[in-house]
Symmetry: C2
Subunit: 359 residues, 2 copies
């Protein structure tokens, strides 16, 4: 039976990226050695590292005064790497979910944190608005897409201070004006690759200002490096995860890039939200204006609540994978990242309609 | 042409581990979803995580009061994770090479460091002896195998304080009495898998004694976790690298485990060192009693020095890969880790003999 993968991350990857990964495991770059077994100090690999950074720059139109770093340890490691590099005395955070809360917790190791607004009052089902960003802080941190709650900040906001965004779950899903940000970071395992690597897009001039000595691996300047060969290669990088990222970005470019995928993402999300709204059984959990185009969260209406387990079973039997909602929201979550084909969304919609028909 | 992979890491992996990796990319655990695309909160994956830790425990006879953690960021991240978790006021380090020096540098962020002995005077070509370990330090740190210089501490030393070892390049190559160590750590990318994951074997009772608040991802207790499901899964782990580690350890177990591979490793290293000693062209760089059974370093004798480039070309044409020595030593280095077959060593020896015959 065909499977439709709605996992929240790690999640579905483009088929050509997966096929190239397998080929490279057998024989990387015609060396006769597989990608899992080559030295990272091989010219062919150094080329892939550079090309991967170049693909990022091209796809997101990243200005020249920014660097793109590839690091291990997941986005959770960036929760403390960011303040270690930027927080001198005080930072502002927008509290839009549990990932934002975790980021806030780590920032407190380095200085004062002002939570400028929070949507905790309604279980993070909306994006706070009308707050003002203090001007006396070192940076303002947002989580642009809240994977668990299905809310998203749809536009690049204007900030009077350095803007930092955790874009783990919506990077490359829409065009972004990178010049408005000091740092954009995230785990690769949603839109840009498998687990095992994180990305950090950083404007170089904001670094080195805290006066704090920073552990070598935590200091972004280590990974920027003066020598091109050592960019994100101060130590052994997560070679294979970066390779699959490279192939994923190549695929994205072939799809027409970020503008094209954004159009498709809006279409996919629109279809699914329309069905949620139309269908008598389901209701969306996020405020309509803040609905994420990546993570679509919905529950059963009060009067059908007892049918949730049954629908999960029904959908699973029809090949839907990973649609159980996160325990903090309940119900269902369909993660429809870039590589999730429209056919998967159609299959899920069909499933919802068939289940409605029998209830 | 057959290739013989002597890369220092990432490096050759067992063929069955590579084949399983490819199968799992196509279809993991009969889920119909590939290993790069499954959620790490899938029962099949939770089983692999547990089995991987269990394989470590079984293969190294790890006592019950130890945990095995799998983390991102490479061994270089452990250079600061270790002191962050253990260093209260002072630590002692043995300086046996550039990795040891890098570890020392990071420890200084957390307290005083006493370098008890160093072999820097002879370009790290031997292991210092006859030093005494101070009793007023929080731990004593060694690099058991010096990948770059081809020297190795062949026995588990007795330490009056917590012993910490970077075993990046000799883990699982010989039996180790884990109970003599507080922490054993390293990058996986030599003997236990591909790049992208590190291992930390840690005795639980030594943690939480510094009084220092530790960032969540740096604190080993986060990854030990009270809940079995979150062991090394506080955040998204480097799934695929851990999977290949699992397959590599399964293979090692099938070979008869660490005792059996140790026998083979000694045999392989013995053959190669014998040839180096016998061959009129070559000479080993490491002190004989400290020769590593993993990284075999050799150069051309003074009178044949001008033939190094020629031999490299000669060997490369015969399929040898990765035998160029590290720039800090020069000449040649053959890394003959667990998964390097005896045939590869034989092929290299043949190459050395053929080159001698023509010179
Ligand atoms: C928005 C966001 N930030 C951070 C994380 C944590 O990422 P990692 O597991 O790579 O540490 C996630 C994971 O799902 C996420 O969705
Ligand atoms: C002994 C030793 N320690 C540490 C490292 C650094 O490992 P990583 O590149 O994973 O940070 C290496 C890498 O070769 C090594 O050989
Ligand atoms: Mg969230
Ligand atoms: Mg409805
Ligand atoms: Mg060394
Ligand atoms: Mg000789």
């Amino acid at each position: 039976m065909e499977k439709y993968n709605f996992n929240a991350g790690p999640c579905v990857l483009p088929r050509p990226a997966v096929e190239s990964a397998i080929e490279a495991i057998r024989n990387f770059d015609n060396t006769g050695i597989g990608i899992l077994e080559i030295s990272h100090r091989t010219p062919g690999w150094e080329r892939i590292m550079k090309e991967t950074a170049d693909l990022w720059k091209e796809l997101l139109n990243i200005p020249d005064n920014y660097h793109v770093l590839f690091l291990g340890g997941g986005a959770s490691t960036q929760f403390f790497d960011v303040p270690a590099n930027l927080l001198k005395s005080k930072a502002a955070y927008l509290e839009t979910g549990s990932w934002a809360k975790k980021a806030i917790k780590e920032a407190k190791f380095y200085g004062e944190v002002e939570v400028v607004a929070s949507s905790a009052d309604k279980n993070f089902s909306y994006i706070p608005k009308g707050y003002s960003i203090p001007e006396d802080v070192d940076y303002f941190h947002i989580t642009s897409n809240n994977t668990i709650y299905g809310t998203e900040i749809h536009e690049d906001i204007d900030s009077p201070v350095t803007l930092v965004a955790d874009m783990s779950s919506d990077i490359m899903s829409r065009p972004v004006d990178v010049s408005k940000y000091g740092i954009i970071y995230g785990g690769a395992q949603k839109n840009v690759g498998p687990a095992g690597v994180s990305f950090v897009i950083v404007r170089e001039d904001i670094l080195g200002k805290t006066g704090r000595p920073i552990q070598t691996m935590v200091d972004y300047r280590t990974h920027i490096s003066d020598s091109e060969k050592n960019r994100s290669m101060f130590n052994t990088p997560p070679v294979f995860s970066i390779f699959v990222m490279h192939e994923t970005l190549k695929w994205l470019k072939e799809q027409g890039g970020v503008e094209a995928i954004y159009k498709l993402n809006k279409e996919k999300a629109g279809m699914l939200y329309d069905e949620i709204d139309r269908n008598k059984l389901f209701v969306g959990t996020a405020a309509k204006e803040d609905r994420s185009i990546m993570n679509v969260c919905f529950v059963m209406k009060e009067e059908y609540k007892d049918k949730e387990a049954e629908f999960l079973k029904f959908a699973t039997e029809r090949g839907m994978v990973g649609i159980k909602g996160h325990r903090s929201v309940g119900g269902f979550r369909a993660s429809i990242y870039n590589a999730c084909p429209k056919e998967a969304v159609e299959a899920l919609i069909k499933c919802m309609q068939d289940f409605e028909a029998q209830n």
